[in-house]
């Protein structure tokens, strides 16, 4: 039964994703932010990383940069670009139209997100390889942690984008409403500032931020050092945020413009 039901759902989401991919290619602003920012920003934080004695954070410079790069992919290739996409499709009444068809609400949001998620994933892999080769970071010591981090980050980022879209009235205001999560995550979730460098008390609060769990898993993938207690904490936090975000989207997402 489930495989019979899944095949058409997959076909529908593929059709939607294909159209979204064409649209993504035609929106230069979004493509620039999604591609350039995660590629350039990690290098701008490198001097800071060098000065902050990354040894203290337990992460070599290459690993810290690759982690930062993956975080920037979550934030810019996926989160920010999807806030833009969800709001634009809602305001163009595309989401309303899609809801008149056979797609379920989940399929609509997932299909729309697929190109951005694929872009984020490709970027994360590319940057990891680049850092591994150019900065001699080598392969992750605990690849399963990297995979867990990537998967949870790539599920959570679109859900957070849908949630942000719910409180965003126009594509233009999306440039403002997306900022709080971007800043908070960059500072508090171990993206621009390695988590190990934060004072303990602040660090324990920041560990509760939405992207902290996925980022911690990604970071630990490089070192392979994460005791089971920490692993459990990161996993539970990532899973809890996914559940909360999905629930909140189902409850508060807006499918039509306000009149």
């Amino acid at each position: 039964m489930s495989s019979i039901a899944l095949a058409p759902a997959g076909r529908r989401m593929r059709a939607l994703a294909r159209a979204e991919l064409a649209l993504l290619g035609r929106n230069r602003g979004v493509v620039f932010t999604a591609l350039a920012v995660p590629l350039v920003l990690p290098f701008t934080v490198r001097p800071a990383l060098d000065r902050m004695e990354p040894a203290k954070s337990g992460l070599p410079v290459g690993g810290a940069m690759a982690t930062a790069a993956i975080g920037f992919s979550f934030l810019f290739a996926v989160y920010t670009s999807l806030v833009n996409t969800y709001v634009a499709r809602r305001e163009e009444l595309v989401l309303k139209r899609l809801r008149t068809g056979e797609l379920s609400d989940t399929e609509i949001l997932t299909g729309t997100a697929l190109p951005a998620v694929a872009l984020g994933l490709a970027q994360a892999l590319l940057l990891s390889v680049a850092c591994g080769v150019l900065l001699h970071t080598g392969a992750p010591r605990a690849p399963y942690l990297t995979v867990l981090g990537l998967v949870s980050g790539l599920v959570l980022s679109p859900a957070l984008a849908a949630l942000t879209a719910a409180v965003t009235r126009s594509v233009e205001s999306g440039q403002v409403t997306a900022l709080p999560l971007v800043f908070v995550s960059m500072v508090g979730s171990g993206i621009a500032v390695p988590a190990g460098l934060l004072p303990d008390r602040i660090a324990s609060v920041c560990a509760l931020l939405p992207l902290s769990g996925p980022m911690r898993l990604v970071g630990a993938g490089w070192t392979g050092r994460l005791d089971s207690y920490e692993l459990l904490g990161a996993l539970v936090s990532a899973l809890a945020w996914c559940l909360v975000a999905v629930f909140a989207v189902r409850r508060w997402f807006r499918w039509e413009p306000r009149r």
């Binding site: 058409p8 076909r11 529908r12 593929r14 059709a15 939607l16 294909r18 159209a19 064409a22 649209l23 035609r26 929106n27 499709r89 163009e92 009444l93 595309v94 309303k96 139209r97 899609l98 809801r99 008149t100 068809g101 056979e102 797609l103 379920s104």
Partner: protein
């Protein structure tokens, strides 16, 4: 297929918006299989608010809606493969081409017709490579219709399908709707064009202020309304110069400038009386116009009645 099967059953439907505005205030009607049913009304009468609930886009505030025997909102997955919806406006990404838009939608419906066939059907065959943002308003309506028809639906919702179309485009759309009806498709149509409802609908309901003011076949609805005679009296003549209006069978009248409008349920008797009087008195009635009730009179009559009541 049972011709008397009710494809849509709407019972005491109400819809209330978040601000508390009650757009639909208790509507009941049904649509039989293979029928074209029109919801007619002025802007703000509640047509789109009603149709959106029947399409399953929103739940009703109260009342019962069944489409093909199921609740279109809670049983969405069961109903949608059998319905096609043409929304009142847009809903296309501006940067996709016509062909890309149709291909996307074709991937989202079960049993899609060939994409080229549908575009040809609505007269967009030559525009496949054009971006949606470059289409005219009328072409967008046709694209909308193409998507609604793509899954070869049993039930078709058309929300103001010809708004923005030129005369030829409207006729093409009407021919298409008639052909679909002849093929067994059930159609729920909203329009504010009276000739459209009169020409296409098997039955219709006139909505006013969120309620059904009258319903029936176009003939039934117009039969309830009086016929109309209007003419201009020459200078120096007044309404009082005519024979007593009651004797002519007139049931209502207005004088606007020099133009006299009479309403009657006995058009022949009234017309004969007026013309005989004019002949005997040597009066020329310029702008003489006598016509049976049309849907337009019915429509205006209902709006007038409701205003008097309010």
């Amino acid at each position: 297929m049972d011709a008397n099967e009710h494809v849509m059953e709407i019972t005491d439907l109400r819809r209330v918006y978040a601000g508390g505005f009650e757009a639909v205030r208790g509507i009941t009607f049904h649509v039989k299989r293979g029928e074209v049913f029109a919801l007619l009304g002025t802007n703000g009468a509640g047509k789109t608010s009603t149709v959106e609930v029947i399409e399953g886009l929103s739940p009703p505030a109260s009342g019962r809606v069944r489409v093909l025997g199921r609740d279109p909102y809670t049983e969405r997955a069961a109903v949608r493969p059998r319905t096609g919806v043409m929304l009142q406006e847009g809903g296309f990404p501006a940067e996709l081409t016509v062909a890309e838009t149709v291909r996307m939608w074709a991937g989202c419906v079960s049993g899609a017709r060939p994409e080229g066939e549908v575009l040809h059907l609505v007269g967009l065959g030559g525009r496949a490579g054009v971006r949606v943002k470059q289409l005219s308003g009328g072409e967008r309506r046709r694209l909308d219709l193409a998507l609604a028809l793509l899954g070869d639906p049993e039930v078709l919702f058309l929300d103001e399908p010809t708004t923005g179309l030129d005369a030829e485009g409207r006729r093409d759309t009407w021919d298409l709707v008639r052909a679909l009806r002849d093929g067994g498709t059930t159609v729920l149509l909203t329009t504010h064009y009276l000739d459209e409802a009169e020409g296409l609908a098997d039955r219709l309901a006139i909505l006013h202020d969120g309620r059904i003011a009258t319903t029936g076949t176009p003939a039934e609805v117009t039969a309830a309304q009086p016929a109309r005679i209007s003419f201009r009296l020459p200078d120096g003549y007044f309404l009082g110069d005519l024979p007593p209006l009651a004797e002519l069978g007139v049931c209502g009248h207005e004088v606007d400038g020099g133009v006299v409008r009479l309403r009657t349920r006995e058009l022949q008797r009234t017309a004969t009386g007026v013309l005989t009087w004019a002949e005997r008195s040597g009066v020329v009635l310029s702008g003489l116009d006598a016509r049976s009730a049309s849907l337009e009179e019915a429509f205006l009559g209902i709006a007038r009645e409701q205003e008097v009541m309010a």
